[in-house]
C-alpha cells in the first residue's frame, strides 16, 4: 500500500517536473519567436489589448459606471487629445514667430523702398565658396545687372551679376579675392575680399581708424558695406592692417532689397 502510494507520488513529481520543463521551453519558444520575428507576437498581443480596452471602455460607458477602468480610458483619450493640441499649438507658435520675424524684416525694407526704387526679394541660397548667392527676383520684377542688394539695416550685401526671368545671381561685397576701393572715415583703403563676409586692407599708419567704424564704398553708391572689426598696427611698419566685417551673413538674411540705380 505504502509502496504504491510512494510510486504514485513519484509519478506526480516527475509529471510536474516535465510540465515545468515544458512550460519553460514554451516560454522560451514564444520569446524566441517574438525576437526573431521582430516583435510579431507582442504586436498581436497589443491588438488584443486594444480590443479589450475598447470593449471595457464602451461597456463602462454604456452602463454609466465611473470606475477605475472608465476613468483610465477617459484619461488616456484625453491625454492623446491634449498631446495633439499641444503639437498643433507649437506649430502655430512657430509659424507666428516666423511671420513676426518676416514682418519685422519687411517693415525695415519698406523704409528702404520709400527712399530708393527697387524690389524686395527672398534670398534663395546661401553664399557659395566663390561669394555667389541667388535671390528670388529677376527680369520680371525689373531687376537688372549692377543693381545693389541691400539688407534691411541698409548695408550693401552685394551686387547683381546675372539676371534670369525669375531669379538673379549676385556676388557678395567681400567675395574671395575681389578688390573694392573703400572709405573708412576719411581714409581710402583698398579692401580685398576673403569670403564669408570678411575683408582685409592696409591703411596708412597714421590713419584714424578704430574698431566699429563704418566702411563705405563709392562702387556701392557710398552705402555702408561693413564695419571695422579689428585693427593691427606695427610701430615699425608703414601701414596698419584693417579687418572689415559685413553687417550680415547672407545665410542669415531671408529678404533683401534690390535697389535700382
Amino acid at each position: 500500500m505504502n509502496t504504491k502510494r510512494y510510486y504514485s507520488r513519484d509519478i506526480d513529481k516527475n509529471t510536474r517536473t516535465r510540465t515545468l520543463l515544458l512550460v519553460t521551453l514554451l516560454a522560451a519558444a514564444v520569446l524566441a519567436l517574438d525576437y526573431f520575428s521582430l516583435g510579431f507576437v507582442r504586436t498581436q498581443l497589443w491588438k488584443v489589448e486594444r480590443v479589450w480596452h475598447a470593449a471595457s471602455g464602451s461597456l463602462v460607458a454604456s452602463v454609466g459606471v465611473v470606475g477605475y477602468v472608465g476613468s483610465e480610458t477617459t484619461l488616456v483619450q484625453e491625454n492623446e487629445t491634449l498631446r495633439a493640441q499641444v503639437a498643433q499649438y507649437q506649430t502655430l507658435a512657430l509659424s507666428a514667430l516666423q511671420l513676426k520675424e518676416e514682418n519685422e524684416t519687411l517693415s525695415k525694407l519698406v523704409h528702404l523702398a520709400q527712399i530708393q526704387p527697387g524690389v524686395t526679394a527672398p534670398v534663395a541660397s546661401e553664399e557659395s565658396s566663390t561669394g555667389i548667392f541667388i535671390v528670388g527676383a529677376g527680369k520680371r520684377e525689373g531687376v537688372s545687372v549692377g543693381d545693389l542688394v541691400r539688407a534691411e539695416d541698409g548695408y550693401v550685401l552685394g551686387k547683381v551679376l546675372e539676371v534670369s526671368a525669375t531669379a538673379s545671381v549676385c556676388r557678395v561685397v567681400f567675395a574671395p579675392n575681389s578688390a573694392t576701393e573703400a572709405l573708412v572715415g576719411n581714409t581710402a583703403v583698398g579692401m580685398v575680399g576673403r569670403g564669408a563676409g570678411n575683408g582685409y586692407g592696409k591703411a596708412p599708419r597714421d590713419a584714424d581708424i578704430a574698431v566699429g567704424d563704418v566702411v563705405t564704398a563709392a562702387a556701392y553708391r557710398g552705402y555702408p558695406i561693413g564695419t571695422v572689426g579689428h585693427v593691427e598696427s606695427d610701430a615699425a611698419g608703414a601701414y596698419k592692417e584693417v579687418f572689415v566685417r559685413a553687417s550680415r551673413d547672407v545665410g542669415s538674411v531671408r529678404f533683401v532689397y534690390i535697389e535700382r540705380p
Partner: protein
C-alpha cells in the same frame, strides 16, 4: 471549492487586471506569490504577457525580466516542493 483555490484564482484575476492597467508592482507581487505559494504555472503566462505587452518592438533586445523571475522562482521552489511531497 477550497479556500486556497479561491486565493489563487483571486491572485490571477488581480494580476490580469494589473497587466491590463499597467501596475508593475502589483503584477510582480502576484507573480511572486503565485510562483512561491502555489507553484502556479499561470505565473509564467502572466509574466510572459507583461514582458511582451509592456515593451515596445524597439526594445526587443531588452531582457524579459519578469518571465525570468517567474521561471527562476518556480524552478528554485521545485526541490523544496519535492521534499515536502515526499
Amino acid at each position: 471549492m477550497s479556500f486556497w483555490y479561491v486565493i489563487r484564482a483571486s491572485l490571477v484575476l488581480v494580476a490580469v487586471w494589473a497587466l491590463l492597467s499597467g501596475h508593475t508592482g502589483v503584477l510582480v507581487s502576484c507573480v511572486i506569490a503565485l510562483a512561491l505559494a502555489f507553484s502556479a504555472l499561470e505565473s509564467v503566462a502572466l509574466a510572459l504577457c507583461s514582458d511582451l505587452l509592456w515593451h515596445a518592438p524597439e526594445t526587443i533586445h531588452a531582457w524579459p525580466w519578469i518571465t525570468v523571475l517567474a521561471l527562476a522562482l518556480l524552478w528554485a521552489s521545485e526541490p523544496i516542493r519535492r521534499e515536502i511531497l515526499s
